[in-house]
Subunit: 413 residues, 4 copies
């Protein structure tokens, strides 16, 4: 987290605060109180929990330190802390689905209570550090908006009849764009965030890397591409896979990307609109790092490093594609944009940049403590809120995760 | 299941049908839609599921065979079958908590739909076999009423702040009744159901057993008794325990009965009224078979066999104590009654009586297929619905189960 | 354990001691030091461990209390205690295969050390209680001789190439004996051990049971019978199985008895002689209780209770069949004998007889503490040492165990 | 693997072959046949398996392709393949401890058979590719020599009485060397193997990296340092740990490095000489990546990247310390040497260097397929065979592994 807003800009901040908070609730209205309570796996959280946790964040790091704040319910500090060890004990993550109380409606009242207090505080004037916390809290909430959608879809995918989260028309299925490549010259580059505007702490410090010349694909790998991989025995040939990846294929019985299935000889995929015919031109989505890596090997290519990805993204003309549309969630995508569409697995492990230092205090637990055994994804997906995407953004997941909106883009020497 | 109602007695049956169905809903109103959806462990089911499953039973075994019935929703046959293999595939039990749809409200409409159809069928006149199915369906629903309460309490007990299911006044804490014994002479006895009135198939055939003389306690073991067991190191002395019981103590870290804890040096217990001071005179409850067995050994006594229990219960004057009161759920109990109060673990394994034959067809899966590695409990508890208790009733649970309202009564030579 | 030898009979006891001890070593010579060390599952123990544990038993319960005994190695008390809580801490059972030291040869020296001390004690004259301990120790060792063979075969069965424990000629494959039945009249019978000669404590007290008339098969179920069960979809029809049994079929993927497989369209079975053609007339072996129960249901019959089995066995003319032959281990069997051939699953749970009291002290942990969730097998198998078989013997295993030499005999009303 | 030996140098190669093979057997003689058979965890292999697998490697990749070779036993191809998918099916790794046959002695004969064939082939003249395979096979065997010692120690550490692998005198306990730092200037450096002499494929290609200035400690972290970390609550303060690291601390109950314990108030450590007093000046060993990372954070420093480590090691005067001494195994170490002493965890994930390509064919499975979720260690340990250590060597283990001879060296800006 780099706090660079030198002067409090109260009014735009307030407007942004209201916008972000409203979007969370707008997403949640797609889900019943029952939907909002269940937890489909330890890595996913109930919608209700996301709504409460993003409010707790403002309570814990902004309102409580500011003084004079009366908590909505003192038990919520325990219930809705996610992983901040410095804040104190917390409810175990795998049991979030058992916290049936407070109700979804009560969480709505909690959100309003927190919002009123934040609005009052903003209107009374914030110090610079407080502006930074609000900004961090809003980015934090935007991040949870994407998680909310991911987690809700995973839950609905566990229902034997794949119910839809939203109604939307069936899209047509145009022909995929042919694959073309762009060459990037080798040499020294600067990557990482330059400190202008908001960024998470893990995006800096900006630093020099040395790259050898490479080429990068001008669109993401499509569903049609992936069907060719499947048809060529991609999931049955150990030589294409990392050792741990091959073990994951065996253990989970992977034979297709997440949410895909065959119905009456046709490929369909579960998504926010329920179970729908697969669209050939769309970027493949819900694949693990292991699958992305195996696909790249099969294609005679490789995944880009995160430095290569960032350098390559810098001078793309149409950088931004489809970001979060709460009325559609997963519309037709083209895969040509590096921000929007899908997150893209890189070959980079999620590690500290040279000279990285986490922020002091509990908010410093935000990013740094996850820097082991995770893999960097770059870009942004169609469920990333607009304004939250950045060229230097470092998303990360374990290698076997498939419930993120994650695909891949090829690189080669 | 013994079908003995020779003539359709439509009106009383209809009245009973309406009563039983209404009680289920009355219990469910104590729980929010969120409470009704969550599943706290594979052995427990969501309230919503109990409400739907008891309706599915009438659909599957009464309405569908009767012809002309339009199912409320054809997917419910898959979602709300419990374990009837003959009926077809079903949703896996450990994932009942992920079925967030239908909603609790929709399940209410499902119940009404089924009820209207059953009422119409009853009013149109039932055949003898159909009367039997209605009777079985009502007993089945009563059984699930007790499960609904057990499962809901288990769920709420997993909440870190132990919320109450109902509001009720704090009871006083009278002195326990002293322990006295009653002698039963040895010889040949008949046990099991005689076929007059409703009974489950596993309660028969009635048959002869040979008993040696024994004595049986005139009240159940109390919380005060149990405190003495704890104080004497009962949970730390392997010589008191069965080998599997001692392993369970180690594995689960048992040191007190289920739902007990110490707060500020005082014993409290979680129950339907939330966390409350322990009452010394009440029968101990939420103990496993292993604990009951170890207690008996510690007390220089043993558990009765189910035959001993049934013979002993036959000429008790005040047999019936507190049965299900939906406004209190777990009121002050005396432990003197053998029906009501708590289920009592016996030393008997749950096995077929000589000559046992399950009913033909899918309803025959009701009892017989569970006859291995379970332990018989006799009597009835304070959450058993009135009219469902019987001297010949054979309840059964695995040895480590603690979420039933189960205690014990001592026997000795 | 009933100690009934009123006068020390030193010489025959000594001879028996030497015989039993020698047989253990004779069995062990079939196995290399490497074979003797490995542990194939938590329920099985290494050969080396059996050899040491049966010596520890004499050390712990005879030599040490007698005074003046110098232990061979003081660490062995920890290493070779099996489950006697009263004796003190012990090495965890699942890790017996990691105790590579002492070596197999060193265990041989340990055995000799213990034997010399026991011989000296016997020759110096034993008290009555000591005679009882020696007798118990010898029965204990005989029990472990059968376990040693069972466990060693299980280990070798885990080897991908199924090595033989002994060389023996291939037997011919005669036609099975037709199935005939014997009727037993109902009424009161006495069962259990009468106190004359050695018996384990769990075989008494002798007591009265009431039986209804029944018939019992005059031979065990054969491999040929079992092939018909398989051919009729026995492993694929849930209605034939107990609920837990059906779950076990799914979990373990059972489709045939233990150690069976098909090679080039032919049925073969792994045994002490390696992988061999299946013999049709032999009693089926290495089936679980669940399988035995399902078979009986499929055959329109049931398993006998242990009381029925004992009553039926009493007046069989040719009671004893093939008992342990250390040079063949699993020769051709006929299935007509109730002692020898195979252990027979009964429908009875392993519970205390009325009035049962375990022996005082640590040796009292021998039997009673296992009286939950196990199933009684009656008879004796072809790897039970001669002299160890008894009509009242109560063997017991969990319902899913398949590595014992266990089959079944049918009963019917 | 870079095959750079342009001309066959038969005689030195033969001498080296004989030396390496003899050292394996010399290590194995420290272990009984029983020791050589057991497997203490899925990640460790039996000694017997190491001895056979290193022979299988020559059989599979050298002798069999050369033609005219008669395998010692055709089943060994299945039993002793480690993880080469391209070679065919293989025995599951977690069950290596159940392969009691062949015996340790038989494995000795297998080794001789393979050696005779390799010697004959070498003497008959090798092609360039064959020289490369022999060289790879010898490096492979050297790698397994270290694993053999690691795995054997882990097995013996599971024995409740911690037996010694070798007898050796107790070393004295000198004062630790004070910690000093060496500064390295920033800029562009070349790292990775230059292709002269043998190296594994993962050590290349040599490539340019950009480093910022840093300092590196001139000795490894010592046991005395680690005691200060423990005394300061190092294992109880979540803020010092990566999130996964803190979870590992909880899960495994880590409170000290592997093999440490307290006896009568004194610190002792298990090692090749059994349980011995801890030596303060020695490099701490048997710590996981998580512990190394937490220690560095506690010390206000960090782990070096592998590039920093390699650059720093290049101009160290006394680079080589104590490498494998088969008569002592873990002698007194100083921690000043970067090769020998202990492996040093770096902050780098184990990933491909830019332009990395694995070797074609099955031997290409050697390194590349493990490039996910592992952490690079640099240097060499006191049980690394002399001649196997290299400045560019990239060792790797999962973050929680503790049975390697692994410690750490600090870096700082």
């Amino acid at each position: 987290m780099t706090l660079t807003l030198k002067t409090p800009a109260t009014s735009p901040l307030l407007a942004r605060f209201l916008d972000v908070r409203a979007l969370t609730e707008r997403l949640a209205t797609r889900l019943s109180p029952e939907d909002q309570t269940a937890q489909s796996m330890p890595d996913a959280s109930p919608t209700k929990w996301h709504r409460a946790h993003t409010s707790w964040f403002f309570e814990e790091f902004l309102l409580d330190p500011a003084g004079g704040y009366r908590p909505f319910d003192p038990t919520f500090r325990y219930l809705f802390n996610s992983y901040y060890e410095a804040v104190g004990p917390r409810h175990p993550r795998p049991q979030r689905g058992l916290v049936t109380r407070p109700s979804a409606a009560e969480v709505g009242r909690y959100r309003e209570h927190v919002e009123q207090a934040v609005i009052a505080l903003i209107q009374s004037g914030l110090g610079q550090a407080q502006v930074g916390i609000v900004e961090l809290g809003l980015n934090h909430e935007q991040q949870h908006q994407e998680l909310l959608v991911m987690d809700a879809l995973h839950l609905l995918s566990c229902h034997p009849f794949g119910p839809a989260m939203i109604d939307r028309p069936v899209e047509d299925d145009p022909d995929p764009v042919p694959l073309t490549w762009r060459a990037i010259t080798g040499g020294l580059y600067e990557i990482g965030h330059d400190g202008v505007g908001f960024a998470y702490d893990n995006e800096g410090p900006r630093h020099t890397v040395h790259l050898v010349p490479f080429e990068i694909a001008q669109r993401a790998v499509t569903n049609e591409d992936w069907l060719a991989f499947i048809a060529d025995g991609g999931y049955a040939r150990p030589e294409l896979w990392l050792s741990d990846g091959w073990a994951a294929v065996q253990q989970h019985g992977w034979q297709v990307p997440g949410y895909w299935q065959q119905q009456d000889g046709q490929w369909v995929a579960f998504g926010s609109g329920g179970v729908r015919p697969l669209r050939r031109a769309e970027p493949v989505c819900h694949v693990s790092f292991y699958e992305a890596d195996a696909y790249a090997r099969w294609a005679g290519a490789r995944l880009p490093t995160e430095a290569e990805w960032e350098v390559a993204a810098r001078d793309v003309a149409e950088l931004r594609g489809q970001l979060l549309d709460p009325d559609r969630l997963h519309p037709g995508l083209t895969g040509r944009h590096m921000l929007g569409d899908v997150w893209e697995w890189t070959s980079s492990a999620y590690l500290a940049y040279p000279g990285f230092r986490p922020v002091e205090g509990a908010v410093g637990e935000y990013n740094g403590k996850f820097m082991s055994d995770q893999h960097v994804l770059r870009g942004a997906s169609c469920v990333t809120p607009a304004g939250h995407e950045r060229l230097t953004y470092r998303n990360f997941y374990p290698a076997a995760a498939r419930w993120a909106f994650a695909g891949l883009r090829l690189a080669r020497p």
